[in-house]
């Protein structure tokens, strides 16, 4: 438990534990330790934690003049709903409006490679740390673990200098060769997300891959399989649930990131993601609530869909792994 709980990934393990304990051999008569007062307190906390999101959600559907003049709770006495706010932030052609549609595409195009590339590299490295014996393996692993906690702020300035001196000429060349690829590209953002995601990904996947029973791998080795075959035939299929669930988290982080985007994307509609545009709007148009509320929900919708839709895969994935282990 502790090893996984070092990281934000723990909700996965907790769900597993919960399912195992609640549904399995501990399925005895349910016994509450606490009183009705506790239930009341829980309901109060749950309400406190939900109301802010709910208020914003409701507001995003109210007409603009109403948002600006009355509180969203007046909706219950005077219900009026509209989709205009969403139409405006997503598709409006005027230059003053957010036109989030374009930034939405950028967010997707940043998040997908920004998830896949670190996953592939991290699963390779995790396998090497877990199952390829070499001297200094554990020292290297501790270094990787420590890197995870180095604030990424420390890496920003030099990495940006590296990108400007080395990557920018390459990007310009690509732009010249294929004119409709802009010279402001996603490449630096992808590389930055890959680098910053790697330490945690390696650490987590290593934890999972190293729990695969030794007998399975030794049996394969006796049958003459080399590291390549073991990796593709045994490790990848067995670790796929863990890889998938980490992939979901990495996707959420990349989608929700602001700092890396601010530093490494161009800041123009060419590459800037949703979060960057929203932060800009919140700063410059702090009182345009009809745009901000709808815009915020446009950015929330993908993470919430991923979170609610794929929640059970976290559980299933880790159960499958632990049952075999």
């Amino acid at each position: 438990m502790t090893s996984a709980a070092v990281t934000p990934d723990s909700e996965i393990t907790s769900e597993t534990a919960e399912a195992a304990l609640g549904g399995g051999r501990f399925d005895r008569v349910k016994k509450r330790l606490t009183s009705p007062w506790a239930t009341l307190a829980a309901i109060v906390i749950a309400l406190l934690w939900t109301i802010p999101t709910f208020g914003l959600f409701l507001s995003s559907f109210r007409p603009a003049d109403q948002i600006a003049t009355t509180g969203w709770w007046t909706f219950f006495t005077d219900p009026q709903l509209t989709l205009d706010n969403y139409g405006e932030v997503l598709f409006s052609g005027s230059s003053s409006s957010p036109q989030l549609g374009e930034y939405f595409v950028n967010s997707l195009l940043i998040s997908i490679p920004g998830t896949l590339i670190p996953l592939v590299l991290a699963s390779l490295a995790a396998y090497a740390f877990a199952w390829v014996k070499f001297k200094g393996s554990s020292t290297l692993f501790v270094i990787v673990f420590a890197l995870q906690i180095v604030p990424l702020q420390m890496a920003l300035i030099p990495l940006l200098q590296l990108f400007v001196t080395f990557l920018q000429p390459f990007q310009n060349a690509l732009h010249e060769a294929i004119p409709f690829i802009s010279d402001k590209q996603f490449l630096p953002v992808w590389i930055a997300h890959t680098i910053f995601g790697l330490p945690l990904a390696i650490f987590l996947l290593h934890n999972f891959i190293s729990e695969i029973p030794r007998e399975v791998i030794e049996a394969a080795r006796v049958d003459g399989a080399g590291h390549g075959q073991i990796f593709f035939r045994i490790i990848l299929p067995l670790a796929m649930p863990a890889i998938a669930s980490f992939g979901i988290f990495q996707f959420l982080w990349v989608w929700n990131d602001l700092l890396v985007a601010l530093v490494f994307s161009s800041g123009t509609p060419d590459t800037a993601p949703l979060t960057q545009r929203l932060a800009e709007l919140a700063g410059s148009r702090g009182e345009d609530w009809e745009r901000l509320t709808a815009g915020a929900f446009v950015s929330l919708i993908v993470p919430l869909l991923v979170f609610f839709g794929l929640q059970r895969y976290f559980v299933r994935g880790l159960l499958a792994g632990s049952a075999k282990g």
Binding site: P8, L124, F170, F180, I181, F186, Q229, L300
Partner: protein, 517 residues
């Protein structure tokens, strides 16, 4: 957004992922390969006959010829694209021929000879690249190579070629000496790159840039990894598995962290200024407030969110609808900090006393008879308002981890305590809390680290104005807005020093777990 823009963007993603896939496939081709995988089958087929090679050579030649023919004939075939395609075609043909030669001529040779020949070819290639880079200005196809890049190419290529030649010679020496000698050669090459850079930089007007430094780092990584891998035949594949991640981490995290640490002692123009940045940090009122705020954040957020999360986890434990309860409080974790910032800015929004309030918090203040407040502008309470947002986000994390830990506390112990007549509070205090101590520590450290690095919330809600800035935000402002990278780096260094105890503690925990396993 025009359709062309969209196509360009999607093409970036497709080309980028495809290039990554090809690079990975090439890398993995060094391993033993399962022959039934279609892609890898292609590589295996290459090993056998001449015909597949001829087909591939034909395809590459076709690309190059088509590019030349279309150039000038159709408008979308630019000069740049023509050059690119011709270079790709020629390079492809070259690679296939090289692979054939190696396969044919070197297959029966002993490993040492193969290794030596490969290194020799690598050295020749490095020198060719350096020479080509030198003549970049006169060749139109290479005009994207800047003078600084050309010089860097030369600085890196010569030590690289030298190292390759030397290690090729060493291939025939016997084992322990060979390993050590190779490590030495690579490290000397890395040092040579650094020294040449420093010498040349002092003679030139314009700086060479950071590329050579990264190359020196990469050379050392190659040396160390090769040293580790060369111990026995079985550990060689680790190079293939580890190399991409190791190179990226060195270039992207280790090297930048060291650079930043050095940058913290320089001023705007990059000259050494001793401790000035730190003196500035501890003498300016704003900077001191920033440090104070950060300390308030790092004390309040972990404590409150862990306490609330723990209470909530206990309250809902084994209740009906536990999953729904959990989801409601966990939801803020899935929302971006920017989204959370907007949500709470809306909660805190302010209207004059004579108007109707639209922010819930001010509405509540008015309802109990108070004056509406400019919550995000009145220091020091505005910092508290921002801290509440972070607590709102992190509580879900604490709750889920602690809930799992609580379920791990043996039921027998709780029952025994109950039979002994302990009331619920005593059972919680004396049985549950000791049982989940390690998880509690982990939750507090994780949230502390996340809090120290917090940036997005402050940026979105106040941009650090009205005395709300924290170290991470101030660092961004100084480095990227005020043009003071030295001060920004100094702040980043302070952040690292604040995180350091937590790193050390976590490494100790990690080692303990390793010992148990």
């Amino acid at each position: 957004m025009t359709t062309m823009d969209l196509i360009g963007k999607v093409m970036q993603a497709v080309v980028g992922l495809a290039a990554f896939g090809v690079a990975m496939a090439l890398l993995l081709a060094f391993l033993d390969r399962p022959d039934d995988k279609p892609l890898l089958k292609g590589f295996a087929a290459l090993k056998r006959g001449m015909r597949p090679r001829l087909i591939i050579i034909g395809a590459f030649a076709l690309i190059a010829i088509l590019a030349r023919l279309l150039y000038g004939a159709v408008p979308w075939m630019t000069q740049g694209m023509t050059n690119l395609l011709i270079i790709v075609g020629l390079a492809g043909i070259g690679v296939v021929l090289l692979q054939w030669a190696l396969d044919r001529l070197l297959q029966p040779a002993p490993p040492a000879v193969r290794s030596a020949v490969l290194r020799g070819i690598g050295a020749v290639l490095a020198i060719v690249v350096a020479i080509v880079a030198q003549s970049a200005e006169s060749v139109p196809a290479l005009d994207w190579i800047t003078p600084a890049l050309a010089v860097s190419g030369l600085i890196v290529a010569l030590p690289l070629a030298g190292a390759l030649v030397l290690t090729a010679g060493i291939a025939f020496v016997r084992q322990p000496i060979r390993r050590n000698a190779r490590l030495l050669v690579w490290l000397v090459a890395a040092a040579a790159v650094v020294v040449i850079t420093l010498v040349l930089e002092s003679q030139r007007d314009e700086p060479i840039g950071v590329w050579t430094w990264a190359a020196a780092a990469a050379l050392s990584v190659i040396g160390v990894l090769g040293y580790l891998a060369d111990r026995d035949e079985d550990s060689k594949p680790m190079l293939v598995f580890l190399m991409p991640a190791a190179v990226l981490l060195t270039i992207g995290l280790v090297y930048p962290a060291i650079r930043t640490a050095l940058l913290a002692f320089t001023d705007k123009t990059g000259t050494f200024n001793g401790l000035d940045n730190f003196i500035w940090m501890f003498s300016q009122r704003e900077a001191l407030i920033t440090l104070g705020n950060t300390i308030a954040w790092v004390i309040l957020v972990p404590l409150v969110s862990t306490a609330v999360g723990l209470a909530y986890a206990v309250f809902i434990d084994k209740s009906r609808g536990e999953k729904v309860y959990k989801m409601l409080v966990f939801m803020p974790m899935a929302i971006s900090f920017v989204g959370a910032g907007i949500i709470w800015k809306f909660m805190y929004s302010y209207r004059g006393a004579e108007q109707e309030q639209i922010g819930l918090v001010n509405q509540l203040i008015v309802m109990v008879g108070g004056e509406p407040q400019q919550i995000l502008q009145n220091s020091p309470w505005n910092t508290l308002a921002l801290i509440i947002v972070m607590i709102w986000i992190q509580t879900g994390f604490a709750m889920v981890v602690l809930s799992a830990a609580i379920k791990g506390v043996p039921t027998e112990q709780l029952e025994a305590a109950e039979i002994d007549g302990a009331n619920p509070w005593q059972r919680f205090r004396n049985v549950t809390v000791p049982g989940i101590r390690s998880s509690l520590v982990v939750v507090v450290t994780t949230i502390s680290i996340a809090t120290l690095k917090v940036f997005d919330i402050v940026r979105t809600m106040t941009a650090g104005n009205f005395d709300t800035s924290v170290v991470a935000n101030e660092m961004y402002t100084q480095a990227f807005r005020s043009g003071e990278p030295g001060r920004g780096a100094a702040l980043a260094l302070i952040l690292f020093i604040m995180v350091l105890p937590i790193v050390v503690y976590n490494i100790r925990v990690l080692n303990q777990q390793k010992a148990i396993r």
